[in-house]
Symmetry: C2
């Protein structure tokens, strides 16, 4: 059964926004980030509240950038890495739109984009916000150890992004178009090391890309850029080996 969805009407990304902590702002994609924070606490008391505030900013600003009003948004499709995806729910609480919560770990944003594009392409909605967030310090508490414990980080450990991103997808407008989406499946090689997420994710990323190329009939050089969720240095190497 095909895992790729081809969009007939090609929904358009009409507005985007992003926000990050200071470390990300200094990184290789720092110049593309719209709002760069000096302090990753963002004036809040907890990491989770800071993450929630970042996501709220990204959604609000993406709507503004799109030239749409909040009243024109049918639904916000969002998810994050926390229990009960609380960063998403507590951010979206501030909007009077429908809400669909999604969870696919590092693939959460592409999942929201896939569902959002389907809603628009089939004519069921007019404008949808797709959004996600993470925070290094809340992710460490969630997946590994609270920072306060001062655990040593092993060499393979990655640095979860402190940041949030959102886009407004629309039926019509000017901007990049969503042409198709290949839905991933779970590929588990049995990596159970919470400090080696790249190795855990690489097999599914490889399977998704190969399935995508096969089902679309495209060659890798057709693309300007092939981007995955962050596999890290070693996960990326495994990904290339598997491919």
């Amino acid at each position: 059964m095909l895992r790729t969805i081809f969009f007939k009407n090609k929904p358009v990304i009409v507005g985007t926004s992003s926000i990050s902590g200071p470390k990300e702002a200094k990184g290789s994609i720092g110049s593309y980030i719209k709002m760069k924070l000096d302090d990753d606490m963002f004036g809040e008391d907890t990491f989770e509240q800071a993450e929630t505030k970042m996501l709220f900013y990204a959604i609000k600003d993406a709507i503004k950038e799109s030239g749409r009003d909040e009243e024109q948004i049918n639904a916000i499709i969002a998810g994050d890495l926390l229990n009960q995806i609380i960063a998403s729910t507590f951010s979206v609480r501030n909007f009077q739109t429908g809400y669909l919560g999604v969870y696919s770990a590092c693939a959460t944003f592409t999942e929201s984009l896939t569902i959002g594009a389907t809603m628009l392409d089939g004519g069921y909605m007019e404008n949808v916000v797709c959004a996600t967030s993470s925070h290094f310090s809340s992710a460490e508490r969630q997946y590994r150890y609270p920072l306060e414990l001062g655990c040593t980080r092993p060499p393979l450990s990655q640095w979860t992004v402190t940041g949030a991103g959102a886009c407004v997808l629309s039926k019509n407008g000017k901007g990049p178009k969503v042409v198709c989406a290949t839905i991933g499946k779970i590929v588990d090689f049995g990596v159970a090391d919470a400090n080696n997420m790249g190795a855990a994710m690489a097999p599914a990323a490889a399977d998704t890309l190969l399935t995508h190329l096969k089902e679309t009939g495209c060659e890798p050089n057709y693309y300007d850029l092939i981007v995955t969720g962050d596999l890290g240095t070693f996960g990326s190497r495994i990904f290339k080996d598997l491919i």
Copy 2:
């Protein structure tokens, strides 16, 4: 902006399955449950593993009931109440289909049904599995206290279902049809008591039903049954008062 999606082709529920623990089997809908367990551990070592096994059973059996092969399923859309929706991911790991993880607490199943119906109705997929699970003992550990602590349960506390359900949605076939879906929004009255989930959920449930009736133009007596996620005795009373 409309929050209701109207399906043109009306996807069909062609197969269903359910499984529950002994308490649920003795309840008012017990006679509708397909597989009733004598032991809510289902032969596993932990509550989470038991929940995962129940969900796997429900998905597998719903596919069988639908008369479809696993190869004919485009995607499984599933979610549960646990961190990283692990019951869903560990169940779906056993299937070679696409996977979309969703999280909307007690509305998870309707969210999966909404997304699945959209995928089919727009012609993007042929067959989709929608599924969810919960387990009283894993939910207590997740949301309140591990059972081993022996905490007293206050009078308003609810009993999370030990069970799993799944259905196969299809473009064509015989069975109940999905006609439309109204997407809920977050309505927070500030209830912060983890033992009074009914009161926390009732405002959003009321808003969704009222929005649904308004946008579809239907009267309550048009329906044979109006069903919500379990609001409990007191949550249901609040729900009716709000309505």
